[in-house]
C-alpha cells in the first residue's frame, strides 16, 4: 500500500516535471520571439524613427512596428510550415540537425561534452563526397559505400577524442574544439589538392557528386536522408534504453565512479560513446555532402558545406533534453527556423541571421528556467537544478 502511493506520487512528480519542461520550452520560445521582435524594430531605422513620436502619435510607431514584426514572423512561419513544399524544405534542413543533435545528445548522456560534432561532420563530408565523386559504382552500392565511408571517418575522428580522454584524461571539450579547427584546416588543404579540387577550377571546390551516390529525392526537397535521420534517432533510442552498452553509457554519465565500481569499464565506455557520436555527427556531414539541394543535385564540397551544423547541434541536443524524441522535435523546430528564415529573408527583407539569434535565445532561456520563471509570472520558480544535458541523476 505504501509502495503503491509512493509510486503514484513519483509518477505524478515525473508528469509534473515533464509538463514543466514543455511549458518552459514554450515560454522560452515566446520570450525569444519577443526579444527578436525588439531587435528587428531597433535595427530598422524606418521603423524605430517613429518611436520618437511614441507619445504624440502612438499609433504610428506601434503600427509600423507591428507591420514589420508581423510580416517577418508570418513569412517565417509560412516558409517553415505554410505549404507542403515548405514542410519538405523543413525536413531537408532538419535531417542533418537531427543527426548531429543525436551525436551531441548521446555524448551528453555519458557525461561528455561533444563540442566536436562540427569537425566530425566536416571530415565525414569529405570522405562521403570523395567516394561520391571519385569512385564509380553501381547506384545503390555507391550510396551505401559513400555513407559508410562518412560514418567510419566520423567515428574515427570522434573515437580519437574518447581514446585521448580515456588514456590521458585530456578534457574532451578542449580536444574537440581544437579538432574542429584541425578538420576545417584539413578540408581547406585537401580542396587545394588534385585529388579533391575540380579540374579546371582555381577556387576550392570539388567535382559534383553524381546521382548514383546522392540520397534519392522523394517529394520536393524531402529526401531519403530525413528518414535515415529518423532511423538513427530510433536506433539511438534503442541503444540507450534497451541495450547493455546504453546502460553503461547512462551509468557512466550518472556517476563514473559508481559505474567503475560496479564493474563497467569507464574508459571503454567513453571511447565507444565518442565513436558512436562521431559516426552520428558524421551522418550529418554525409547528409550535407550527399543530400540533394533545391536544384536536385548535392552541393559540391566546399569549405562551408556543413555550415555550422556542429554548433547548431548543441542547441538541438539541449532543447531536446538529450532524448531522441526531443532531439527529433528540436531538430524539426530549428530546421523549420532555417527554412523559414530563407523565406523571411526574401519575402520580408529580414536577414536570415535573425534565426540564429532566435535559436541562441531559445536555448539560453531553456538553460535558465529560473530566469524564465522570473519573467513569466505564473510559472513558479523551483530551487532544484534542471538537468540540462539529460544525464540520469
Amino acid at each position: 500500500m505504501m509502495a503503491e502511493t509512493l509510486r503514484t506520487s513519483r509518477v505524478r512528480e515525473w508528469a509534473r516535471s515533464r509538463w514543466r519542461d514543455w511549458v518552459i520550452t514554450l515560454a522560452a520560445f515566446v520570450l525569444a520571439l519577443i526579444v527578436g521582435a525588439i531587435l528587428m524594430i531597433a535595427a530598422d531605422p524606418a521603423v524605430s524613427s517613429n518611436f520618437a513620436y511614441l507619445f504624440t502619435a502612438p499609433g504610428l510607431a506601434l503600427g509600423a512596428a507591428w507591420t514589420k514584426v508581423s510580416t517577418a514572423y508570418a513569412a517565417l512561419l509560412n516558409g517553415a510550415i505554410g505549404s507542403p513544399e515548405a514542410l519538405a524544405a523543413t525536413t531537408a534542413a532538419a535531417a542533418p540537425l537531427i543527426c548531429a543533435g543525436l551525436a551531441v545528445g548521446l555524448a551528453f548522456r555519458a557525461g561528455l561534452f561533444n563540442i566536436g560534432a562540427q569537425g566530425q561532420a566536416i571530415v565525414a563530408s569529405m570522405a562521403a563526397a570523395y567516394v561520391g565523386f571519385a569512385w564509380s559504382l553501381p547506384p545503390v552500392v555507391h550510396l551505401v559505400v559513400a555513407v559508410a565511408a562518412g560514418l567510419i571517418v566520423g567515428g574515427v575522428w570522434g573515437g580519437l577524442v574518447g581514446w585521448l580522454k580515456a588514456r590521458t584524461g585530456a578534457h574532451e571539450v578542449i580536444v574537440t574544439i581544437m579538432m574542429n579547427y584541425l578538420a576545417a584546416g584539413l578540408l581547406a588543404w585537401t580542396l587545394t589538392t588534385t585529388a579533391f579540387q575540380r579540374p579546371g577550377r582555381a577556387d576550392p571546390i570539388s567535382p559534383e557528386v553524381p546521382d548514383s551516390a546522392a540520397f534519392p529525392q522523394l517529394w520536393g526537397q524531402l529526401h531519403l536522408g530525413f528518414f535515415v535521420a529518423l532511423a538513427a534517432a530510433v536506433a539511438v533510442g534503442w541503444l540507450l534504453e534497451r541495450s547493455t552498452v546504453g546502460f553503461a553509457i547512462r551509468a557512466v554519465g550518472a556517476n563514473p565512479s559508481a559505474a567503475g565500481t560496479a564493474g563497467m569499464n569507464v574508459g571503454t565506455t567513453t571511447i565507444v560513446t565518442m565513436t558512436i557520436a562521431g559516426a552520428l555527427a558524421g551522418l550529418a556531414g554525409v547528409q550535407a555532402a550527399l543530400g540533394p539541394s533545391v536544384n536536385g543535385v548535392p552541393v559540391p564540397l566546399t569549405e562551408g558545406l556543413v555550415g555550422t551544423v556542429g554548433f547548431d547541434a548543441i542547441t538541438v541536443a539541449l532543447l531536446g533534453r538529450s532524448r531522441p524524441l526531443g532531439i527529433v522535435l528540436a531538430g524539426l523546430l530549428f530546421g523549420g527556423l532555417s527554412a523559414g528564415g530563407l523565406a523571411m529573408q526574401s519575402v520580408a527583407q529580414t536577414p536570415l541571421t535573425l534565426t540564429l539569434v532566435l535559436q541562441a535565445l531559445v536555448v539560453l532561456f531553456v538553460a535558465a528556467p529560473q530566469l524564465v520563471a522570473t519573467l513569466v509570472p505564473f510559472l513558479k520558480a523551483r530551487k532544484t537544478r534542471v538537468s540540462l544535458t539529460g544525464v540520469d541523476a
Binding site: 531587435l39 528587428m40 535595427a43 530598422d44 531605422p45 561534452f113 563540442i115 585521448l164 588514456r167 590521458t168 584524461g169 585530456a170 578534457h171 571539450v173 578542449i174 580536444v175 574544439i177 581544437m178 579538432m179 579547427y181 584541425l182 584546416g185 584539413l186 581547406a188 588543404w189 587545394t192 555550422t308 554548433f311 547548431d312 548543441i314 542547441t315 539541449l318 529580414t350 536577414p351 536570415l352 541571421t353 535573425l354 534565426t355 540564429l356 539569434v357 532566435l358 535559436q359 541562441a360 535565445l361 536555448v363 539560453l364 538553460a367 535558465a368 529560473q370 530566469l371 537544478r385 540540462l388 544535458t389
Partner: protein, 434 residues
C-alpha cells in the same frame, strides 16, 4: 664513546645519503612522449635535409628602413643538418632520462630554437627572395595582440572558476561595437570605449547565466558565441550593410613611435612603433599578473577558483568575486575585439574574428592559466600564424594550412599531458550554489 661511533655527525649526513629518484607514471609518460615528439621532428628535419639546396638568406631590416642591417646568408643544408642533430640529441637526452630539472628546460629551449631555425632555413634555402625577419617579428606582435588580450580575459575568468569559451563571442561583439561607434563618431577613444563596453556586456551575460543561474559554462559559452554571431550578423545585415559608408567606415589607429626607442634597428620598429592597442596589451599582461598575484583581490579570485567552499567559509563572497573577475576580464576581451576593426582594417564583416577567440583559449590552456605564460603562448601562436602567411609569399612546398593548424594541434598535445602536466584551477567550471 659508543654514541660517537654509531652516529655520524649531522653535517655529513646529506652527502652520504644517495637519493633514489622515483619518477611518477605521469612524469615518465610526459618525459618519454616529449622525447618522442622532439625525435620525430628531428627525423623530419633530417628528411628535409636532403631537399635543401643552396643557401638561405634572412633580411634583417625591410627595404624602407633608415638603418639598413646586413642580410644574413647561411648555407642551407649544413644548418638544417645541425638542427636535426640537435633535436635528435635532445630527444635522446629526454628518452634516456639523463636530463634533470634545469637541464631539461634548457634542452627544450635548444630543441625549440633548432626546430624554428632549421625549418626556416629549409623554407628559405634556394629562394631568390630573402626571408623578411623584420616583417615576421613585427607581424608576430601585431597578430598576437588580440590573442594576448583574449588569453588574459580567459585566464582571469578561469582563475576565478568561470570557464570562458565565449572569448570569440566577446571579440565579435566588441569588434562590431568599435566599428559602429568609430564610424559614427570618427573617434578612436570612443570606439575603444564602445568595444570595452561591449566586451563587458557580453561578459555580464556570461556571468549572469553562469553564476546566478548556474548554467553549464561550456554549453553557455557555445550559445553565447552563437548569440554574438547572430546579433552582430543581423545588425550588420539590417543596419550597417545598407549604409556602410556612414556606419562601417571607422578610422584605424595610427602607430605611435616611442621617441628614441623606436630608432633601435630591427627591434625598435617591432616593439616601439606600434598602435596604442599593442602597448595596452603589454601593459595589460603586467596589470593582470599584478592583480592576480600581488593584490588581496587576486588572492580572493584564485581562492574562489580553487576552493570556493573554503573561500566562503572565511567570509569571501564567492559570487561577488566571480562576477568581478568575469567583468574585469571582459575589459580585456573588449580591447582585443577592437583590434579586429579599429585596430587593423577599420570595417566590420560577418564573423571576422575567425576563430581567434579559440586560439586565445588554446593559449590560456597552454599557458597553464597563468597570465604571463598564457601571453607568451599567445605570442608564440602569433608567430606561427604570421609565419604561415610569410611562407605563402616565399612559395614553399609546405601548405600554409598545416602551419595554421599548429596552435590547435599543440593544444591537444598539451592537454593530453604529452608535454608536462596542465592543471586547471580546481573549481574551474563548477558553479557555486550555497
Amino acid at each position: 664513546m659508543s654514541t660517537e661511533s654509531r652516529a655520524p655527525s649531522l653535517t655529513d649526513a646529506p652527502e652520504q645519503l644517495d637519493f633514489e629518484v622515483i619518477e611518477s607514471r605521469d612524469a615518465r609518460r610526459a618525459r618519454i612522449s616529449t622525447g618522442a615528439l622532439i625525435g620525430i621532428v628531428g627525423v623530419m628535419l633530417g628528411v628535409l635535409f636532403f631537399g635543401t639546396e643552396g643557401s638561405a638568406s634572412f633580411a634583417l631590416s625591410d627595404a624602407f628602413a633608415d638603418v639598413q642591417l646586413p642580410t644574413i646568408v647561411i648555407p642551407g643544408a649544413p644548418v638544417v643538418a645541425v638542427a636535426a642533430v640537435a633535436c635528435l640529441l635532445v630527444a635522446a637526452g629526454f628518452l634516456s632520462g639523463r636530463l634533470r630539472g634545469r637541464q631539461r628546460t634548457l634542452a627544450g629551449v635548444i630543441a625549440g630554437l633548432a626546430v624554428v631555425i632549421g625549418f626556416l632555413t629549409w623554407a628559405a634555402a634556394g629562394k631568390d627572395l630573402p626571408f623578411p625577419v623584420a616583417n615576421q617579428l613585427a607581424g608576430t606582435v601585431f597578430t598576437a595582440t588580440p590573442l594576448i588580450l583574449g588569453a588574459l580575459c580567459g585566464s582571469l575568468g578561469e582563475r576565478a572558476g568561470v570557464v570562458n569559451v565565449a572569448i570569440e563571442g566577446q571579440f565579435l561583439t566588441a569588434a562590431f561595437a568599435a566599428a559602429l561607434v568609430g564610424s559614427v563618431t570618427k573617434s578612436i577613444p570612443a570606439a575603444l570605449f564602445a568595444a570595452v563596453l561591449a566586451g563587458v556586456m557580453m561578459a555580464a551575460v556570461l556571468a549572469l547565466f553562469a553564476i546566478k543561474y548556474l548554467v553549464d559554462q561550456v554549453v553557455l559559452g557555445v550559445v553565447i558565441n552563437l548569440l554574438a554571431s547572430g546579433i552582430t550578423g543581423f545588425l550588420f545585415d539590417q543596419l550597417v550593410q545598407p549604409n556602410s559608408r556612414a556606419l562601417n567606415n571607422a578610422p584605424t589607429m595610427d602607430t605611435i613611435p616611442i621617441p628614441l626607442l623606436s630608432d633601435i634597428p630591427l627591434l625598435g620598429p617591432v616593439l616601439f612603433d606600434q598602435t596604442i592597442l599593442v602597448y595596452l596589451a603589454v601593459i595589460s599582461v603586467v596589470v593582470v599578473w599584478f592583480l592576480l598575484y600581488r593584490t588581496r583581490w587576486g588572492l580572493r579570485v584564485r581562492a574562489v577558483g580553487e576552493h570556493p567552499e573554503a573561500a566562503d567559509a572565511v567570509g569571501i563572497s564567492v559570487k561577488r568575486v566571480r562576477w568581478q573577475a568575469v567583468l574585469v576580464a571582459g575589459v580585456f576581451s573588449g580591447l582585443g575585439g577592437a583590434f579586429f576593426t579599429v585596430g587593423s582594417i577599420g570595417s566590420f564583416s560577418k564573423d571576422l574574428t575567425a576563430g581567434n577567440g579559440f586560439i586565445a583559449l588554446a593559449a590560456v590552456i597552454m599557458g597553464r592559466w597563468h597570465p604571463v605564460l598564457a601571453a607568451t603562448m599567445a605570442l608564440f601562436f602569433g608567430f606561427v600564424v604570421q609565419m604561415a602567411s610569410q611562407l605563402q609569399t616565399l612559395n614553399t612546398p609546405v601548405p600554409s594550412q598545416f602551419l595554421l593548424m599548429l596552435p590547435y594541434l599543440a593544444t591537444i598535445i598539451a592537454v593530453a599531458g604529452l608535454i608536462g602536466r596542465t592543471r586547471a584551477p580546481a573549481a574551474d567550471g563548477v558553479p557555486y550554489a550555497k
